[in-house]
Structure formats: C-alpha cells, structure tokens
C-alpha cells in the first residue's frame, strides 16, 4: 500500500464517519459541525486528486461562508427535540424502504459500470509546475463558456427569487436609514444666528 492509499483511506474513513454522524447525532449544532468536517475532509480528498483549485474553493465557499450561515440559523433556532422523535418506530419501515431504494438507485447510476477506471483510463501524475487553476480557467472560459454563463445567470435568478420571496416590508415599522444619516450636513440641523448683544440692566431698576 502506498502512502497515497493510506492517506486516502484515513480521509475516506473520517468522511464516511462524519457524514454518518450528521444524520445520527441528536444536537443540530453538532450535526452542522460534522457537516463542516465532512466538507473539509472531502476537500482534502480532492487535493489528493490534484484538484487543488476545487478543493480550496470548496473550503472557501462551503466551509467559510455557507456553513457559517447554516450554523448561524441553527444556533438561533430553539428546537424542541421531543416532538421530532415521536413516531420514530411507526415510520421506521417506510424509512428503511425509501433508504434502500435510494441506495440501489445510486449504486446503479454511480457504480463502477458508469464511472469505473476503464472509462477514464489511468490518472496522469503531473509535475510540480502543473497549474490546476490555469487549466481549469482555460477550459471554463473557452469550451464551457456558455454553460458557465448560463449557470451564473440561473444562480443570480435564484438569489433574486429568494430575496423577493422572503423580504416583507411591514408597514409601521420604525427604522433608521444609514444612507440618509451619513449624508446629513451641519446646515440641515444647526442654524447659527447673528444678533446684537443685549444689555442686562434694562428693566427692574
């Protein structure tokens, strides 16, 4: 067994264990943290495949941003776990059947028949000066430029749709507008008057 194989099996074991823990641990915050570990470990596996750009981007986007927001939401939820666990035994047979069907389907699609080594040939080991980022950029902006742009447009539409669906402007809420606040000038708030000096000793003497 080579060093690469040992490293692969260690990371693969951590990945499978943490992915399993995501769906089995009771505390939702722990589940999210296991998901972070799963993402990080799969990034390490991608680095083994010399796909360092994808691996680092996975950490940057999913671990650094998406999962932070996930954690943000999960930590603020006050979930009562007891009603969630009710009827576990009742739904167990249905769950097992669904899980089995999904498993068989995935094996049929993702199995060695379609994604085996003989479909792709041996992986080529590149020299140290091989730049995965450059290769990826070249392909992405030449051969796949239209799919890439279409994907970007779809994601943009999704962002706008998500904001449009969730943003509610409630009437009668009081809020500050910082953009207006920073534009305030002295002249809007303060008036300096010029007036003649007044004498104190006029009346009462």
């Amino acid at each position: 067994m080579s060093i690469e194989a040992i490293i692969f099996y260690v990371f693969a074991a951590i990945l499978v264990a943490s992915a399993g823990a995501v769906v089995t641990v009771r505390n939702p915050v722990h589940a999210v943290l296991f998901l972070v570990l799963a993402f990080f470990t799969s990034a390490a596996l991608w680095i083994l495949l010399e796909a360092e750009f994808l691996a680092i981007t996975l950490v940057l986007v999913y671990v650094g941003a998406v999962m932070v927001l996930f954690l943000f939401v999960v930590m603020m939820l006050d979930i009562n776990l007891v009603p969630l666990r009710e009827g576990f035994m009742r739904f167990l047979p249905v769950g097992i059947v669904v899980a089995l069907i999904m498993f068989i389907e995935m094996v049929m699609v993702v199995g060695a028949k379609n994604f085996g080594v003989d479909h792709y040939g041996e992986g080529i080991k590149h020299a140290a000066d091989y730049s995965n980022t450059k290769e990826l950029g070249n392909v992405l902006y030449t051969v796949y430029v239209y799919p890439f742009e279409i994907a970007a447009a779809i994601l943009l539409v999704a962002i706008i749709a998500a904001i449009a669906l969730t943003m509610r402007r409630r009437p009668n809420t009081k809020s500050q507008d910082p953009a207006k606040q920073v534009l305030v000038k002295r002249g809007d708030r303060l008036r300096i008057l010029k007036m003649a000096a007044e004498r104190k000793d006029t009346a009462g003497e």
Binding site: M1, S2, I3, I6, V29, L33, V36, E52, F53, I56, T57, V59, L60, V63, G64, A65, V68, L69, L71, F72, M75, M76, S131, N132, T133, Q176, P178, A179, Q181, V182
Partner: protein
C-alpha cells in the same frame, strides 16, 4: 507493508526539515504577537499622552512575558451549562487556521515553506475558517453576551469576506497569478510599479476589510466592551482566553504582511529605480523590507484603534455591502480593461 515502512523512513529527513521550517515561522510569530501587544499599549499610550506599561523590566520590555505567565497560571473556568467539548475546542479552532495560513507566505525570494500555486486562494479559505472559533465559543459558553458577539461576528466576517475576495481578484488579474511570489515579482521596477497605485481603491478596500475581518477597532463589535462586555470570549479565562488573543494578533500580522506583499512590493526595495539611492541600499536583505512594510501596516491597526470610535452595527453592514463591494466590482472592470490594453508601466 515493509515497503511502506521503508518509504516512510526515506521521507523522515524531509519531514524533520519541514517541522524545522514550521518552527522557524511559528516561534517568531508568537514572539511578534507578544511584543505587538506591548507595542499596542505603548503606541496607544503615547497617542493619549500617557507613558504606557513601564514597570516590568527595562522600559516595560518584559511586560508581555509577565502577561503570558499570568495567563498561563490562571485557572480555566468552564461555565456550568456550557458545552464542554466545544468550549475547549473553540480557541484551538480560532488559532489553528491563523497559524496554518502562514505556510504559503513568502518572506523573501524563495523564502517560503509551501510554494503552492493557489496561495492567495489558500489564505482566503483558511482565514475564512477562523470565524468558527468565534461562533462556536459564543454558542458553547451558554451566555447571552457571548452569543450576541458570536452572531454579530459571523455576519460581519462573512460580509467583509466578499469585498476582500473581490479585492484579491483584482490582484490576481494584475499579477496574472495566484502565487504570492509571482505577485511580488510582477511588481518589479520601482515603487511606482507596485500595485498600490493601479489598484488603489482595491488596496484601501482590502486593508479596511482586513481590519473588519480581524474584528479590530473600529469594527470590533464582536467584542464591544461597552455594549456586550467582551463579546464572544466573556466566559473564557487563562490560557483559553490567551489563545483567542494569539489568534487575533496573528491574523493582524497576516493581514499586514499580505498588504505589504500584494500591494507594496513585498521584499522589493522602495529605492529601486532611483539613481543614487538604489546602490546605496542594495545591501539591505529583502526580509528587512518585508518586515518594515508589515510593521507600518501594523502601526496603522494601532493608530485606527486609538483614533476612531466604534462603528454602529448597521453602518458596518452598509459599508461592507453598499460601499466596498460596488467599489471593488467597478475597479475590477477598470483593471480588466487596463490589463487588456497592456497599460504601461504596470501591465506591459
């Protein structure tokens, strides 16, 4: 199996060499962190017309050692209903990415532990992970103040990461590489060739986002002493507390050295291309220039803290989303056009 063992033994000298290199970086960082805290107190002291710490050792020079020793000997108190495991692991999660990012930082021509191709991306990815230390500590402490600090910090760091990422895309466009060494080499010429000039808006956005990203004043709402006591680390004491500080200061130094490398010519001499001064200063090693530029940016951190009042939270968000991100997007278009036009003297 025996084969594997033999291979492992063959790699042993290399592993020892790497460990030595790591120690050569981590120990000076720890010392710089210690003395940065002293510099901070002294600089802010003089700005406020005080003397600052001057009791321990000559001119207060042993103060960081005394502080470190004190924190080391203090008891670590775990709050009653805290999540024990996460409470202990949070400071480690804050410090580890802050140190790991240093692996790809070049200190001079070829002076780098891991000369990887996508080093800017690697640094961005690792620094984005340091927010976990803050969030987890805030949640695991089971305290309202800590939790508020954690939530504020999470939103702030994620927001400013976008502006920072865009600013780095500008650097990548200008240098044509994601490797930090290549970025410095692309700035060769004179101090007018450095990227601070063609990328001036991105430079300012990068540095201010760096200040926000490290939760330093005036963007330090994660701590906010006057509002939420001390924010995310209010329940921590002793060495666990010290680790958060180590992480914060290590991140500050990282942001400063990256600003020096990406926008101010890194190890290149500022007198390059000037007739009389260039030969006069040609004996100065590149490391000195890197450290001098880094120190300047660190001084800016301290200066900001002594000068500006804390931002209001909604204004921090407005600055990040509505000011910095549009600026960076517009300037990316400008840089792209300049690179295509081979604008002299930077992009020819």
């Amino acid at each position: 199996m025996i084969e594997t063992l033999e291979m492992g033994l063959g790699m042993l000298p290399e592993v020892i060499l790497i460990v030595l290199k790591i120690l050569l970086i981590v120990i000076p960082i720890m010392l710089s962190v210690a003395y940065l805290t002293l510099a901070e107190r002294k600089v802010i002291g003089y700005i406020q017309v005080r003397i600052g710490p001057n009791r321990v050792g000559p001119r207060g020079l042993l103060q960081p050692i005394a502080d470190g020793l004190k924190l080391f000997l203090k008891e670590i108190i775990v709050p009653t209903n805290a999540n024990r495991f996460l409470f202990v692991i949070a400071p480690i999660l804050a410090l580890a990415p802050a140190l790991a990012a240093w692996a790809v930082v070049p200190f001079g021509e070829g002076l780098v532990v891991a000369d990887i191709d996508a080093s800017i991306l690697y640094i961005l990815a690792l620094t984005s992970m340091s927010v976990y230390g803050i969030i987890i500590s805030g949640w695991a402490s089971n305290s309202k103040y800590a939790f508020l600090g954690a939530l504020r910090s999470a939103a702030q760091v994620v927001s400013y990461e976008i502006a920072m990422g865009f600013a780095l895309v500008g650097v990548l466009l200008a240098a044509g590489s994601l490797n930090l060494g290549e970025v410095v080499r692309a700035q060769d010429g004179s101090f007018l060739h450095w990227f601070w000039l063609p990328l001036l808006p991105l430079f300012i956005v990068y540095f201010l986002s760096g200040v926000a990203e490290t939760n330093r004043a005036p963007f330090d709402v994660a701590e906010g002493e006057s509002e939420i006591v001390a924010g995310f680390h209010v329940e921590y004491s002793g060495m666990a507390f010290a680790l958060f500080f180590l992480a914060e200061y290590a991140n500050m130094i990282l942001v400063a050295i990256l600003a020096a490398l990406m926008f101010c010519g890194g190890w290149l001499s500022p007198f390059q291309g000037i007739p009389l001064l260039e030969p006069l200063f040609s004996w100065v090693p590149g490391l000195v220039w890197v450290l001098a530029k880094t120190s300047f940016f660190l001084f800016l951190f301290l200066w900001f803290r002594a000068t500006f009042p804390r931002y209001r939270y909604d204004q921090i968000m407005r600055l990040g989303w509505k000011v910095f991100i549009p600026i960076t997007i517009v300037w990316l278009l400008v840089v792209g056009a300049a690179v295509l036009a081979n604008l002299s003297p930077w992009f020819d």
